[in-house]
Assembly symmetry: C2
Homo-oligomer: 154 residues x 2
């Protein structure tokens, strides 16, 4: 369970992509959706803020769930490199690049085979739950060869 | 003037602490408050998000305004090192450290004399204006030798 508030201390030190007083969490409940080698930390969550700032990290070859939702994602790559699918575009991503995921846009992140991929993600505190593609929707993705190549790395 | 929305493109590339399609802005209006060698970029601002993510950067020896406000700051150091005053505490800060500035807490950031200091700052879109200390408030700070030493670097 996440703590209801994160960030009470003035300063939380960074060391090797962990932060003081900040729990290393499972990305999602195991078996709830497809994902691989990914963790989650909540860096800032406070009743005084309309958004949360989370840090997600994939080990080499790891990936997040292919999903979409009404709420928007504002992402800054903090560590390493990889690629992402956003809508029908596959893009290479490097440290400090910014990724904007508009409402209801399909998206998935994937670490390179030889690099971690860590990113900050800002989201509204009040947000809807993600949905995953149906079989038909997944087939439609695969009509695009670049997207098909991205997806088949699972 | 800031653009009303930031982050329309899926991917905005990073290069030398600038981002595609992201304007380099003055920290504040010149002469409106004390500050030195500091710039501002709005990384994410969108009607769908309750918060903005900004990037502030100080050249070596630069500093932000000593101020406070009702709204909270959630800060991640993205570049270099320096120190900050938060309330009556002076703390050294390094890349990727997290700093939490609670409502109505006096704060100021300062780059080291030999390093840039760049940080991400998440704030609510709807927020109040900062206030600066009165002469009496500034004198009260100076009763603490560590705080006095921090402030006199201006």
């Amino acid at each position: 369970m996440d703590k209801p508030k994160q960030g009470g201390s003035i300063l939380r030190r960074f060391r090797d992509y962990r932060w003081d007083e900040t729990e290393l969490l499972a990305y999602k409940e195991e078996g709830s959706a497809p994902f691989k080698a990914i963790t989650r930390q909540t860096l800032f969550r406070d009743p005084a803020l309309g958004c949360e700032l989370r840090y997600f990290e994939m080990a080499p070859g790891g990936y997040s769930t292919l999903e979409r939702h009404e709420h928007m994602h504002a992402v800054l790559i903090l560590r390493g490199r990889g690629e992402c699918l956003v809508g029908d575009e596959v893009r290479k991503i490097e440290t400090n690049d910014l990724v904007t995921i508009a409402p209801w846009t399909w998206h998935q992140f994937r670490a390179a085979s030889d690099s971690h991929l860590g990113f900050l993600c800002m989201v509204n505190v009040e947000r809807d739950k993600p949905v995953q593609p149906t079989e038909d929707e997944r087939k439609a993705f695969e009509a695009n060869p670049l997207v098909a190549a991205f997806l088949k790395k699972d």
